[in-house]
Amino acid sequence: MHIDRLERYWIIAVGVVLGAFGAAIVASVVVFGVRLPSPVGRIDPAKIKESEFATPGLTQDGDHTYTLRVVAKMWKFDVGSKEPQPTIKIPAGSRLKIIATSLDVTHGFYVEQHDVNVMLLPGQISQVEVTFNKPGVFHIICHEYCGPGHQAMVAAIEVNEGN
């Protein structure tokens, strides 16, 4: 099969560019430590009340390390806060481990300006870790359609200065 000379160069260039993109992805994992959500376990949605998700909310594990347990349901994030816009407060520099699931339908869990982007599915436990360095209020947004109240499904993480 005949391949034109210029086309051959093009194919090589395509290979090199895609190879470079691939190397960048490997570097993001190996050098910069970016992690994707991976299976950590299943949970029967009917038994959430008898599980580690019975009391959602923030627990402090150590100096600037916290665990946040979240139960998403139509149409709110239960983060253990009773405010109209559920909010958790942590100091800047905190490492937060988020463990979350959904009670009913597919929800999303996205934190503005941070690398937190994970699906919450009934039956599955999602887990991500993230560090909050910059003070400010960052919304937790449900980014998967979950019914008529979807757009109101929002919570917030308030990151405060100092300790």
Binding site: M1, H2, I3, D4, E7, W10, I11, V14, G15, L18, F21, G22, I25, S28, V29, V34, L36, P37, S38, P39, V40, R42, D44, P45, A46, M74, Q85, D104, V105, T106, G108, Y110, E112, Q113, D115, N117, V118, M119, L120, L121, P122, G123, Q124, I125, S126, Q127, H139, I141, C142, H143, E144, Y145, C146, G147, P148, G149, H150, Q151, A152, V154
Partner: protein, 564 residues
């Protein structure tokens, strides 16, 4: 079913008229026009989503005032029904004209059409009665009215009959012409229906064994993670099912229209074979943020996704070289002036080249989406609709509109209503899509979610406000463009007085150096099967809970537990 006897189609533009149901005009016309009716419902809801989401306007959507109903109608009509009907009609036309024979069975053509049409009507019923607000991805555990799923089943079964008919037509032709080269357009059409059939098994299993029984009340639980895996087994090849007919037009028809010739026929076929094979083991790149799929499988499917980018980049060169030749024929001398020395006054050409331009950003943003870790910044933000409105809304739809500008006149036996209106339509569409892509892409990077009724949201992302407001300009242009398109379609159907001038851009013979082994369909299917075992079997083993089965009850998309 006996096959209808081969009908000689003269190279002139006359259509065979052997009873209207057997005529090419009716076969092609009914499919294409049904597709355009679906588009007519779906297309105009698009700009109003943008108006609704812009903080400066927050307008309610007319008629379908409920945002998520409008969004579901927009997605289902445009992406599932317009595309499928149009592609089937276009594929019949391509195959019958190129092979100079009728379809294997005209009865089967109409049987498939009726199934698909009933499917469309059932889905429309479920949508307009507000019982299927599940968006076009219909993820469980949201459960729609059974008519919605039944309609989808009929659509898919219809396309299986179409595939059988296309292959039987090809096999008859091959038996009579054992040594001849298959015209590229037919080769491409066959690869497209192979990938569609393989892909559709995922969604067929999801709908038949999970969603429809739950919707009917035969079972009581489902598994959202397993449903997503089955859906995306289908969902990514689906986008290639939309794209390949556009490629078919660029490779096999645009050379005739632009007075050029194809640069490399063998490499075009290689591209179609690669697309057919590697569009299957890549769907997990839609599930990078899913909790139930391991990072290893996500990595493996990223590699395959990069492989499936190769045939599109081959296409960029091959089609680019063909266009360079067209430009040189029109007097281009310098290294780059062939790009604008094209026949921009011809809406058929202008639409296709504009579609390619949109596909540059569409393709690049697609590679970004597929980049495993980078996807965390993009997934489910408004970046994603920005991306697929450059690909599906741009490259595919604008090419299909360009095809309509010669195909509808041919079906009607009249000239196009207005070439000027068509040109305005093409340019407003391109610029509108670019503005939509830029503003929604930027807003997505700032954290604006997709598929969300921002007009009713209690929070606001101040950084993204200027972009969301600017997207209104894109919406207005696209609204104008949509109106201009249908003015021309209805104008051509009912009011055009101009005589038909354009010829069908169809190759009936090929001077090709392509080896005949490229038609080893069994070999390609075996490779697809092996790749499925490598890329998908481990995923399905992960996502299905083999000890506990399904544990999540169905939910009504309007709230509460689903009751059949």
């Amino acid at each position: 079913m006996q096959h209808t006897k081969a009908l000689t189609i003269t190279p002139e533009l006359t259509f065979p008229k052997v009873g209207f149901l057997t005529s090419e005009q009716w076969i092609v016309g009914s499919h294409v026009l049904t597709g355009l009716m679906a588009l007519l419902i779906g297309i105009f809801l698009g700009p109003f989503q943008v108006f609704r989401r812009a903080p400066a306007l927050k307008w309610a959507i007319p008629v379908f005032s409920y945002y998520y109903q409008a969004l579901t109608v927009h997605g289902v009509m445009n992406a599932l029904f317009f595309t499928t009907f149009f592609i089937v009609g276009f594929s019949y036309f391509t195959v019958m004209r190129s092979l100079k024979r009728n379809m294997w069975s005209t009865k089967l053509v109409w049987a498939a059409y009726v199934l698909m049409l009933v499917g469309l009507l059932l889905v429309v019923y479920a949508l307009v009665t507000n019982q299927a607000n599940v968006l076009y991805t219909f993820y469980p555990s949201l459960i729609a009215h059974p008519a919605f799923y039944l309609g989808l089943v009929l659509l898919v079964v219809g396309t299986w009959l179409v595939t059988a008919n296309l292959f039987l037509t090809y096999m008859l032709w091959r038996k009579e012409n054992p040594q001849e080269h298959l015209p590229l357009a037919v080769f491409a059409t066959l690869t497209n229906f192979v990938l569609w059939c393989v892909a559709s098994f995922g969604v067929a299993i999801e709908v038949l064994f999970m969603l429809l029984p739950l919707s009917l009340g035969l079972i009581s639980h489902t598994d959202p993670q397993a449903g997503r895996a089955l859906f995306w087994f289908f969902g990514h090849p689906l986008v290639y099912f939309w794209l390949l007919p556009a490629y078919t037009s660029w490779y096999a028809m645009l050379p005739k229209q632009a007075n050029s010739r194809i640069f490399s026929d063998p490499l075009a076929r290689v591209a179609f074979i690669l697309l057919m094979i590697f569009s299957i083991p890549v769907g997990v790149h839609h599930m990078f943020t899913d909790p139930g799929v391991s990072a290893v499988m996500k990595g493996i499917q990223t590699v395959f996704t990069f492989v499936v980018a190769i045939p599109s980049l081959l296409t960029a060169f091959n089609v680019g070289a063909m266009l360079e030749r067209a430009g040189r024929n029109r007097g281009a001398k310098g290294p780059f002036d062939w790009m604008w020395k094209q026949d921009w006054r011809n809406p058929v050409i202008a639409a296709q080249i504009s579609a390619m331009i949109l596909f540059i950003t569409g393709g690049i943003s697609g590679i970004m989406n597929a980049s495993l870790t980078l996807n965390i910044a993009l997934h489910n933000t408004s970046w994603i609709p920005a991306h697929f409105h450059q690909t599906l809304g741009g490259a595919v739809t604008l090419t299909f509109m360009g095809i309509c500008y010669w195909l509808i006149p041919m079906i009607r036996g009249r000239g196009l209503y207005s070439a000027n209106v068509a040109l305005w339509q093409v340019h407003t569409w391109s610029i509108g899509m670019m503005i939509f892509g830029y503003t929604y892409g930027a807003a997505g990077l700032l954290g604006v979610p997709r598929r969300t009724d921002l007009g009713a949201a209690p929070y606001i992302n101040e950084l993204a406000v200027p972009y969301l407001n600017a997207s209104v300009i894109g919406g207005v242009l696209l609204l104008i463009s949509g109106i201009l398109f249908f003015v021309n379609i209805f104008g051509t159907l009912f009011f055009s007085k101009a005589p038909l001038t354009e010829e069908a851009p169809i190759d009936t013979y090929v001077e090709s150096k392509s080896p005949l082994w490229m038609e080893k369909w069994g070999l390609w299917l075996s490779i697809v099967a092996i790749l499925c075992v490598i890329a998908w079997v481990p995923v399905f083993l992960e996502v299905f809970d083999f000890t506990n089965g399904f544990q999540t009850p169905g939910y009504n998309p309007n709230g509460g537990i689903y009751k059949p």
